[in-house]
């Protein structure tokens, strides 16, 4: 008995240490973080937001429906194209170069993509579509590869005779994972709808366009109407999203998307040969001008931006974990009654379907632009996702009939068993939180995104490009570190999440 508990303890220690390390990092980060509550009287605004939630206004139905249809069309086309490209990429994904390029591209947030692509394609569907397709293809390539890599090798080995690799793949490996690939694609479509909504914030005619307008004008009734519409679309996904209907949807989407401009080659060339070339080089000042420029960028923008991005990320990561741990007993079948569970599920569905960008947007209105709204928004959204996944895992546990009840059941029975998986989910969100943190800068928090947004506002695409590239590279670093930690702790990788979702 003692021996068993000792071995268990030894096995658990790395998890505990990892948790401790991250909590300590977050605490240190919190010392440097700017958590000032700036708004003097947020309650009036909060009350208005709450009142808006109870009395949504579906006033301009025609415009809303048009925007909703555009949002869906963009998401459908983007995600489907990305799925195909991602699938094609799985065949060459074992090459290190391909993996690195994909990691870099997917670590740049779709809003950054949209902002940059807009310089070339303007406010067109092409901008939105590519901003979705580029990062999503790379995400698909990764997850599809992992799922396919997990298939049972036996069927492939059992095929007799000289059979080509592709045939083997088609008949032995693909069928085995078809369901999971499908499930994951459907989940990505849900993400795609959120992403395409968000793109309205930078001017594409999706739901986010009207959402931003409504929120910034204080028309909370109108804003909630749009949010409810988004929830409804996402919640009903499983009924209307049928593989068999897909071709019809795609053809419809292609007719719906408002395309009013094509690709101008000259814009393309201008972008690469002049827009994104560092100003001193473009001016012909050579290295002499470039060094002060890059030093200025590093010390005045990238340095401070990266510091606050990392501070935010680490705090948000730990708080997400905390939110998730609170959420698990609210949604898991192991605890509470049906009423508390339904309420818990409802809360989680709402918080995880609301993009963190929007939560942060609202909290910023209420609290003012310190790091507080960003941290809370990230923690709520990501905590809800991790809580949901861990809760489902806890549901599957079989407890002894005489297992302890109440709070102790959670802390002593359930949590120890799902803790490893919980950490795995959380570490997987790490790079996602980093990506989101960067983009929250557009809302005025001084992360990398703030400096990128300023550069774009000043029409300095060279600076914006540099900052975005740095963001992408750092995202890659975090992704690599997260993978390392998961391997070290022997935690299952993101594939598990793909299956879960």
């Amino acid at each position: 008995m003692t021996l068993v508990s000792l071995t268990i303890n030894r096995r658990r220690t790395p998890l505990r240490n990892a948790t401790l390390v991250f909590v300590v990092i977050a605490l240190v980060a919190a010392v440097f973080a700017d958590f000032e509550l700036i708004a003097l009287k947020p309650w009036g605004e909060l009350a208005k937001i709450f009142a808006g939630a109870l009395t949504p206004k579906f006033l301009d139905a025609e415009r809303l429906i048009e925007a909703a249809v555009t949002t869906l069309a963009l998401a459908l086309l983007g995600v489907m194209a990305a799925a195909m490209i991602g699938f094609a990429l799985t065949f060459i994904y074992r090459h290190r170069a391909v993996r690195s390029v994909c990691a870099f591209l997917r670590n740049i947030h779709e809003l950054f993509w949209a902002l940059m692509l807009m310089q070339v394609f303007g406010l067109t569907a092409a901008t939105g579509l590519l901003a979705l397709v580029i990062p999503y293809s790379c995400i698909f390539a990764k997850i599809y590869s992992e799922l396919l890599g997990e298939t049972d090798p036996q069927p492939a080995a059992a095929i007799p005779g000289p059979v080509g690799g592709f045939t083997r793949f088609l008949f032995a490996r693909l069928p085995d994972t078809m369901t999971q690939l499908g499930t994951y694609t459907a989940y990505r479509l849900e993400c795609g709808i959120r992403s395409s909504t968000i793109m309205g914030f930078v001017g594409l005619p999706t739901l986010g366009f009207h959402l931003e307008t409504a929120f910034s004008q204080g028309d909370y009734g109108g804003a909630w109407a749009i949010l409810y519409l988004t929830y409804a679309v996402i919640a009903t996904l499983r009924w209307w999203f049928r593989p068999r209907l897909l071709p019809i949807y795609i053809i419809a989407a292609m007719f719906i998307l408002p395309l009013n401009s094509g690709i101008e080659m000259s814009h393309f060339i201008r972008f690469f040969t002049s827009d994104i070339v560092p100003a001193p080089l473009a001016r012909g000042d050579g290295l002499e001008g470039f060094l002060p420029w890059i030093t200025m960028m590093a010390t005045e923008q990238i340095g401070p931006g990266l510091a606050s991005t990392l501070i935010l990320t680490q705090i948000a990561l730990v708080l997400s974990g905390l939110v998730a741990l609170i959420a698990v007993p609210l949604v898991s079948r192991q605890f509470g009654g049906p009423v508390s569970r339904i309420a818990g599920h409802l809360a989680l569905v709402v918080t995880r379907s609301t993009p963190e960008y929007i939560i942060a947007f609202v909290l910023l209105l209420v609290w003012g632009p310190s790091m507080l709204p960003a941290v809370v928004a990230l923690a709520i959204h990501n905590g809800a996702i991790v809580g949901h996944l861990t809760g489902r895992l806890a549901d599957d546990l079989t407890l002894r009939p005489d297992a302890i009840g109440g709070f102790n059941r959670y802390t002593w029975e359930v949590l120890p068993r799902v803790y490893g998986q919980f950490l795995a989910f959380l570490f997987y969100r790490w790079e996602i939180i980093f990506r989101e943190t960067a983009i929250l800068g557009i809302l005025g928090i001084h992360t990398l995104g703030f400096y990128a947004d300023s550069a774009i506002a000043e029409f300095r695409l060279d600076r914006a490009t540099l900052i975005i590239v740095v963001t992408g590279v750092c995202g890659m670093g975090i992704e690599a570190m997260s993978r390392r930690i998961r391997t070290r702790l022997k935690l299952t990788t993101s594939v598990e999440e793909a299956k879960e979702s």
């Binding site: 009287k41 009036g44 807009m118 303007g122 001017g203 094509g262 690709i263 005025g444």
Partner: protein, 294 residues
């Protein structure tokens, strides 16, 4: 059946139509105010120009100052109602473009510095140095009256960049929000376009017991209509003059009130050289772009 996905993918790739030479004049404006107000205003302008010029005119709303400039640069809009700074930036990006007209008020535009009344800083002919060390919000990062000019005058007065002068500097996004934020106390002070302040005040949108104007800046040139020179190829060599004339003859009180401007007067690219100089002096525009005159 298996080829279907590939066929669809090819469709997606090839279906971007080439730019069509439509005979529509598309225009935009910097989103400096609540969008509903902008749509109300520019729908009136759309109708007015259509009637006056006999061509199709359509207004495209955008979400940021930068997007307005980008759209103008990429020829997605050929005409725009820019602020001083965005106009200069746009004309640097499109060297062949011309200022057509400005509002009468834009010849001598002003910025108001706002204070939340709880700060107890009172209005005066000089800007009270007690605002230093407080929290301060500009409008959009690319705004003339909400950012460029107030930043310039603050630097002139106090010899430091805003980041050093204030405890916290924000960018609200637009003038309406600047007023809201200072009124709510999210920021103690702010810089706002005086016309937006006056019109919101007239509409009863401002609680003056919570926010007041404590200082106004010296005058500078601001908003203007700018058009792309290549409009001539599409609508005839005299299109810029016809457009300019249309603005100068605009006397419908309803349209003017929506701006709000009392009328329009001719203006030229050179009128905005002071704005360019100031933008350069505070480092908002790179010297590399000096070669072409705005």
């Amino acid at each position: 059946m298996r080829r279907l996905p590939i066929a669809l993918l090819l469709c997606v790739i090839f279906w971007f139509p080439k730019t069509t030479l439509s005979q529509t004049l598309t225009f935009s404006a910097i989103p400096d105010q609540d969008e509903s107000r902008l749509i109300e205003r520019f729908t009136l302008v759309e109708l007015y120009l259509e009637e006056k010029l006999g061509i199709d005119v359509s207004y495209v709303p955008v979400k940021s100052y930068a997007a307005a400039i980008t759209a103008f640069r990429n020829d997605q809009v050929q005409l725009a109602w820019f602020g001083g700074l965005s106009g200069v930036q746009a004309r640097l990006a499109v060297p062949d473009s011309e200022v057509l007209a400005q509002g009468i008020e834009d010849q001598a535009f002003k910025t108001y510095i706002l204070a939340n009344t709880e700060t107890e800083v009172e209005p005066g002919p000089e800007l009270d140095p007690r605002i230093l060390g407080s929290t301060f919000t500009f409008g959009s990062k690319g705004s003339t009256s909400g950012r460029l000019m107030p930043e310039f005058f603050l630097r002139e007065l106090f010899r430091h960049a805003p980041d050093e002068l204030f405890d916290r500097v924000g960018f609200s996004g637009d003038h309406s929000r600047t007023i809201d934020l200072v009124e709510a106390g999210a920021f103690e002070f702010g810089a706002v376009n005086y016309e937006v302040w006056e019109s919101e005040l007239a509409r009863g949108q401002i609680d003056t017991s919570k926010v007041q104007v404590i200082w106004e800046t010296p005058a500078y040139p601001d908003y203007q209509w700018t058009a792309r020179g290549d409009l001539r190829a599409q609508f005839g060599p005299d299109i810029l003059n016809r457009l300019r004339q249309a603005f100068l003859e605009l006397d419908d009180p309803k349209v003017l009130a929506a701006f709000p401007r009392s009328g329009f007067v001719p203006a030229h690219n050179d009128d905005y050289l002071p704005v360019l100089d100031i933008a350069r002096s505070i480092g908002l525009i790179d010297p590399a772009r000096e070669s072409s005159r705005p």
